[in-house]
Symmetry: C2
Subunit: 230 residues, 2 copies
Amino acid sequence: MALQQDIKVAVDAVIFGYESKGNLSVLLIKRGIEPFKDAWAMPGGLVLERESLEAAVKRELKEETGVRIDYLEQLYTFGKPNRDPRNRVISVSYFGLVRPNHFKIKGDTDAVDAKWFPVNDLPKLAFDHKKIFQMAAQRLKGKLMYQPIGFDLLSPEFPFSDLEHLYTTILGRDIDRRNFRKKIKSFGFVEETDKLHQEGSGRPAKLFKFNKQKYDTLVDDGFHFDIKFV
Amino acid sequence: MALQQDIKVAVDAVIFGYESKGNLSVLLIKRGIEPFKDAWAMPGGLVLERESLEAAVKRELKEETGVRIDYLEQLYTFGKPNRDPRNRVISVSYFGLVRPNHFKIKGDTDAVDAKWFPVNDLPKLAFDHKKIFQMAAQRLKGKLMYQPIGFDLLSPEFPFSDLEHLYTTILGRDIDRRNFRKKIKSFGFVEETDKLHQEGSGRPAKLFKFNKQKYDTLVDDGFHFDIKFV
DNA sequence: GTATATTTGTGTCAATATTACACAAACAAA
DNA sequence: TTTGTTTGTGTAATATTGACACAAATATAC
């Protein structure tokens, strides 16, 4: 009944980078071949025959950019017939969040060129990757509001202002420092240490740490993390 | 570098059915061929060469069950290498919600057999369809809490108890009638008519209607529907 | 060493939202 | 006319949110 199917399956990764005191950025690669040769695109590529989707996206990411990431979340599957001008290719997209300076990015010396771009200054993107990026950015913001993603991006012991900066950067807006602290503290999975941290001028900051074990326990007990601060 | 890829792309639909006074059910088909011959499965099948994913799932649904649905939402893409014991098949799954008695389901007279099953009494399912179903059920509940899905499932003018029943059925738990009414009314997109409706014994109920236009306006204005009642 | 700039840390009050809870009204059926 | 069933409604206690300002601790500039 159905014609013999010849559809390729690809994966793409929207990798956000966040650095203390830094901006939010996205990892892109410069395409070496047509179509869209020399345009920037999300890292990704075809899935191998006996490889899971997640394995594929991690592999491509490693090969093309040098970034190794453990946690990726599936975003959406894009499948319009003409999203690739040549063949029919559907793309299962993923997104993740890492610390850029944890990795040495493959650069001009390699066959491929990979770079971090600030999210509010992206080049023109290949295929439908602009749409993929937009969806990922929206999901990242949404996720931040009900899950404590991003604690891995901070130092094991971090001043509260780092966490605050992470949130303002990803959400792209200011938040009330006092209310934010109050809210986060009320969850009970950040713990105060007795260490202090000094950087530049200003009063030294207490260091805090994220108690993942406690967080997991809370989640198991059906706790529902939920931020709606201004 | 990469081997020639031969992966099939399929779509699957988790179609929930809700009827006034009814239970929540799911539409399944009985497989006519191996693997999993005679087992029940979600409707679905291979995507055609020049067909969008959404068109494919609607077409398969129509062909296999007779159900035509306008709104489907993408759920997740399942891609473990061995989810199909024969070939490599990845499945892009969708879910939707309809009124069962709006359709004549294809039955034993046809090549395929399709049936509604109550969600808490499902047969053993083919492939990884149990997992697909579970994910869909969870998403449906979640969605109900922040979007007024389901108003299409009610009559154009409905007693409030119908809406309440829809919610208790999908959520699988009781809710406080007074608080529910208060909350829904506060949103301002259900309007009271001056008609009454009588069914069986008991006080006649006022009829209400859903003002979709008003709802859309609110959404455009950035309104965020959000239910957390008990 | 004094003044200035910078960053951290903290509490209260008003407004709003949530939750728990019970009884009268309107009808059908017995 | 009594009984059973369903609809319709308000209030008070509690919890959450949101707005808001100033002192403490340090580095830096003079």
